[in-house]
């Protein structure tokens, strides 16, 4: 891939922008369209572009498949943890308003937390799906 200088330069310029946009979609989801699901996919898209240009081995050096699997489970667990945290503070499962003294702040905090969990899960699941498709050799 070293000979395609235009592709390399453009992708090096674009990949950070795509990743920042993914984070914007993630954490600005309360004010504008978006949320964990969309952010996860956009983040993975940046990674797939990197893989297409620099090869699977370089990408797996950045995020090894094993780390992706662990993070996928961690995202779901983060979601569930917020549910149980609400339970231990006296509310129902996933009733966020008990998390913080102010009702609105508690709801917002809970939503941001579970959206983060969803985002992590979606991004790493999509990434490991891509790895397992791309890592197979043609027979």
């Amino acid at each position: 891939m070293n000979q395609y200088i235009v592709l390399r330069v453009v992708s090096k310029l674009m990949i950070p922008v795509i990743m920042i946009f993914a984070l914007y979609v993630q954490f600005h989801g309360e004010y504008s369209p978006g949320g964990g699901f969309q952010a996860g996919i956009v983040f993975t898209a940046a990674f797939i572009v990197y893989t297409l240009l620099f090869g699977l081995e370089a990408a797996q050096k950045a995020i090894p498949p094993k780390a992706a699997h662990i993070l996928a489970a961690a995202g779901v667990l983060l979601f569930i943890a917020f549910g149980y945290a609400a339970m231990f503070l006296g509310g129902n499962f996933l009733e966020y308003k008990v998390l913080l003294p102010n009702d609105q702040a508690g709801e917002t905090f809970g939503i941001i937390g579970i959206e983060l969990g969803v985002g992590i899960t979606v991004a790493t699941v999509a990434l490991s799906l891509f790895y397992s498709f791309a890592g197979r050799e043609r027979r």
Binding site: G35, I48, P65, T108, I111, I114, L129, F133
Partner: protein, 184 residues
């Protein structure tokens, strides 16, 4: 809408799977534009990212693993199938006649829970984007199920296809045979 129909027919007719994959991406983008026109920006973002981005990449990966041409089977055109499809389609079209008009404020979907969500959620949750507050708070359990389904899908694919870890090829026998052939 017309473009959607044209692309849909093209997807069915074209035999080159690479072209079909590209057309699927175009179809997703068109659907996303339709969603934007209907003010469903959240759904449009998802459709554009998943349908036009990730899905096409995964299909391309599959095609590169399998084959690029669709096998053409010479099947008999069954008259019975045509009759069934026509009757079902007619029934569906007939059912749409009963639906309320688009944007009708008296529609059942707009008088039951929607007023509560649209009027109470800004004060109750304190978040301007109602889609997020409905998704994550009122319907939190659904979203949890969604996340678990995605995770389960990944587990299934990983079990079937393997993890895709890149292994350096260290095949001692292969190297030896290569050397042997060079020497000879």
């Amino acid at each position: 809408m017309t473009f959607l129909v044209v692309v849909g027919i093209a997807i069915v007719r074209v035999r080159n799977l690479l072209a079909v994959t590209m057309l699927t991406g175009i179809y997703s983008l068109l659907v996303a534009m339709l969603f934007v026109l209907l003010d469903a920006v959240d759904v449009a973002l998802t459709e554009a990212a998943v349908g036009a981005g990730l899905l096409v990449i995964l299909m391309l990966a599959t095609i590169s693993l399998t084959t690029r041409k669709e096998k053409v089977h010479a099947t008999r055109q069954s008259l019975m199938a045509l009759v069934v499809v026509t009757i079902t389609g007619a029934a569906l079209v007939y059912a749409t006649l009963d639906m309320p008009r688009f944007g009708d404020p008296e529609a059942p979907a707009h008088v039951h829970l929607s007023p509560r969500f649209t009027q109470e959620s800004p004060t109750e949750i304190g978040i301007p984007n109602m889609v997020t507050s409905v998704l994550a708070s009122y319907r939190g359990m659904d979203t949890l199920g969604e996340a678990v389904v995605i995770f389960a899908a990944a587990v299934g694919v990983l079990l079937v296809l393997g993890t895709g870890t890149v292994r350096r090829r260290r095949d001692p026998e292969g190297e030896k045979s290569g050397e042997a052939s060079e020497q000879s």
